[in-house]
């Protein structure tokens, strides 16, 4: 059974059809890169999968571990192991980063019928993850994303992912706006979290992230559909020739 199976997915935003029959299968342990030009529907895919309001699914199905993912509220999807690393992480002034993460962690555990962690247990877990992610604990004491640099915000997303240990991680343009050092840090974090039980969907505009996080599959998303799939070499081909040539051959 596929961990994630998307079939003929159609979705609208503000009445405009963005996804037009997207199909994709992802197995545990795999890293899939979704590439494509601006406006192809890359971010829409991430938002539909994690249940953001304002995205109307008009046709198609999404099955996650055998259940209908689209029927779940966003928080239930999170508890079921779906994680979205935001392209633009949101600031929550005055709310401590660690407090926020513990609330999320315990809400998910509670929803799964698992025992919640007390603050000591949680702190221990956080310390371990910090070490793996090579993140300074100074980030923990600040308010959620408030006053963070672009790079810090993205690293904080990856750190949240490390703590929440999702089964399916969707990275929405996590590489955008990062300089090369920050990009390497983020890539190291993602690589550290690769495991046979976990799948990644990396949405990206550029192939440079893929130099550091080598995907098993590369898909080209154009005009709301997957128009070509291949391995890492497809990304290099795109880098050379751009999206223009690819989209045309398949579109309409």
């Amino acid at each position: 059974m596929n961990m994630l199976k998307i079939e003929n997915l159609h979705a609208r935003v503000e009445g405009k059809e963005i996804l037009k029959g997207l199909s994709l299968s992802v197995n545990a342990g795999e890293v899939h890169a979704i590439m494509g030009p601006n406006g192809a529907g890359k971010s829409t895919l991430g938002n539909v999968l994690s249940g953001r309001d304002g995205y109307e699914v008009t046709a198609g199905t999404v099955t996650y571990n055998g259940i209908d993912l689209l029927a779940l509220e966003p928080e239930a999807r999170a508890a079921a192991g779906v994680f979205l690393a935001f392209q633009y992480p949101v600031e929550i002034p005055g709310v401590n980063n660690t407090y926020f993460l513990r609330a999320a962690f315990n809400a998910q555990r509670k929803a799964r019928g698992e025992k919640e962690f007390d603050s000591m247990q949680f702190l221990k877990l956080v310390r371990e993850k910090l070490k793996v992610m090579q993140i300074s604990d100074e980030l923990l004491h600040r308010a959620v994303n408030e006053g963070f640099s672009g790079g810090e915000k993205k690293r904080n997303e990856i750190f949240q992912m490390a703590v929440l240990e999702p089964q399916l991680a969707i990275l929405d343009e996590t590489d955008s706006g990062l300089d090369i050092d920050a990009l390497k840090h983020v890539a190291d974090g993602v690589n550290a979290l690769r495991s046979p039980e976990r799948a990644f969907l990396m949405i990206t505009h550029y192939q440079r992230l893929l130099d550091y996080v080598v995907p098993d599959f590369v898909h080209v998303l154009a005009d709301g559909r997957i128009v070509e799939s291949g391995d890492k070499s497809l990304a290099l081909k795109l880098e050379e020739h751009g999206y223009a040539g690819l989209g045309e051959g398949v579109a309409a």
Binding site: S50, G51, R52, D53, G54, E73, P74, E75, R77, A78, A79, F83, L84, F86, Y88, P89, V90, I92, P93, G94, V95, F100, L101, A103, A104, F105, A107, Q108, A111, A143, Q160, L164
Partner: protein
């Protein structure tokens, strides 16, 4: 050269596009029960005879009766107040009863009616000293009378006087006479005049020279009787170098009629004295259709009478149908400091018009204002504040920060900062923001597994952090819980 500036700004913002946060609010008010107890009191109505009767019931000296009558006569001449930004039906002052008390009069703490003890127990304020909050002395005021004050003996050993105002008038007349009305004169405003005429009880605190009060002092106000107004009067005096931290809490039963609460609080800080006054106000706010609730019209003022003194107001206002209060500080002494930290939350049809006045008279005086307004439902929440730099306020400084947070589509937030600067060396700073809980914030929280309701409380708590930090620890926890309860059903 004198410069004068008056600045009024109104920022009305409504929310239209927050799909995550519905306007329907189902609030549960845990303190809304009624205590069945035999009461005694005066029939509704107000004239000179009513004032004399209240004074007689309290066995007051003649000077006090005269003081009340003078206030009453002055009140008769005063015009009804201009309602600022509030919508309010005219109040019938003859329909209110001005005195209500449990029939078994005040006794020692050990003999207090069990029904009363139970009431306070239910409200989380145990009056038995062994069960009481560690390190907090409580004066409990039920309708028009104080029913008991804890830890009096321990406080007396430190030289601190903490008792009901009625007792203070009888037992410490010299102190009361010296300070009562010295900060808020009887004719100060319509409600202060009314209060001066008919006030029934409240707390009295006196910290002598050089004493740091060994525990937190607090008063718990409870309105129980129907058709009754509560007119409490509180006086806190800190002599030279004295320190005190005081907290008041307020609740009332759920009733369909509006009830009037018109209090006067006076603080006096002499040289190098410090008074910290915190309020957690949770009067019954009315139901989701705007029926019932307390009218909370309060005059609170502190006088930094001595040099290097400090008065700090912290308030968390979640209750009342209408709140109208501006805890103020008169910065008379040189280098004195005034602070005002406020969280005001309104829901349903609640209205709040609250803020502060900082009157700078002395040299190098400093004031700081941090106001956080949260509006939900169809409520209206206004900050109204005055910063006045008088001629002598050489080198004085003020910093004001007003932030508004909107939840839902039909609420309003307004900011009215007034500034009058008559000394060119004075510096006044003002910052204001209006924000809403955004769809992005909600989705971010939910995508991490946090429910909508928990996300709202978390965001609101973060918004209020700057003010909660100023509350004594035990009450910061209570205030946070209160906001959570108040926000129940804020999202749908």
């Amino acid at each position: 050269m004198n410069s004068s500036m008056i600045n009024e700004r109104s920022a009305t913002t409504t929310l239209r596009d927050n799909a995550e946060v519905a306007e329907a609010l189902g609030r549960s008010y845990a303190a809304g029960f009624v205590t069945e107890i035999e009461m005694t009191g005066l029939p509704p109505g107000l004239d000179e005879e009513t004032v004399r009767q209240i004074s007689a019931i309290k066995r007051e000296p003649a000077w006090m009766t005269e003081w009340r009558l003078e206030a009453y006569r002055h009140w008769l001449t005063m015009p009804k107040p201009d309602w600022a930004k509030l919508n309010i039906d005219p109040i019938d002052y003859q329909a209110i009863s001005y005195y209500a008390a449990p029939k078994a009069g005040p006794k020692s703490l050990a003999e207090v009616d069990p029904a009363l003890l139970e009431t306070y127990e239910k409200l989380g304020i145990p009056l038995h000293e062994r069960a009481a909050l560690a390190g907090v002395a409580v004066d409990a005021v039920f309708d028009s009378v104080s029913v008991g004050t804890t830890f009096r003996k321990q406080l007396a050993e430190a030289g601190v006087l903490f008792c009901s105002m009625s007792e203070a008038i009888r037992e410490y007349p010299d102190i009361v006479r010296k300070y009562l009305g010295s900060v808020v004169p009887t004719g100060d405003n319509f409600f202060a005049a009314l209060n001066s005429a008919v006030f029934s009880d409240g707390s009295f605190v006196f910290i002598p020279k050089g004493v740091r009060c060994p525990m937190e002092l607090s008063t718990y106000f409870r309105i129980n009787a129907q058709n009754t107004g509560q007119f409490e009067r509180t006086l806190i005096v800190a002599e030279e170098g004295a320190h005190v931290s005081y907290l008041e809490g307020c609740t009332a039963p759920k009733r369909d009629e509006n009830q009037l609460h018109a209090a006067v609080v006076e603080l006096v800080a002499l040289e190098k004295a410090q008074i910290k006054y915190s309020t957690v106000q949770n009067w019954y706010p009315g139901d989701e259709n705007g029926v019932g609730g307390i009218y909370n019209f309060v005059t609170k003022r502190g006088d930094c009478r001595g040099d290097d003194s400090k008065i700090s107001w912290t308030q968390v206002e979640t209750g009342s149908a209408i709140t109208w209060k501006y805890p103020s500080v008169v910065l008379r002494g040189d280098r004195s400091v005034g602070e005002f930290y406020s969280v005001a939350l309104t829901h349903h049809f609640q209205q709040a018009d609250t803020g502060t006045k900082m009157i700078h008279l002395g040299k190098y005086t400093k004031s700081k204002i941090v106001s956080k307004g949260i509006s939900a439902g169809r409520s209206s929440n206004s900050y109204r504040g005055l910063v006045k730099m008088e001629k002598g306020a050489e080198g004085a400084r003020n910093y004001t920060q007003c932030d508004s947070l909107l939840i839902g589509k039909k609420c309003g937030a307004h900011t009215f900062p007034y500034m009058e600067v008559k000394n060119p060396t004075a510096i006044v700073e003002h910052e204001a923001t209006t924000s809403k809980i955004s769809d992005d914030q909600m989705f971010y929280c939910r995508s991490r597994g946090i429910s909508e309701e928990d996300a709202v409380s978390m965001i609101v708590d973060g918004f209020c952090k700057q003010v909660f930090r100023e509350l004594p620890m035990e009450f910061a926890v209570e205030a946070k819980k209160l906001l959570e309860v108040s926000l129940e059903g804020a999202v749908g």
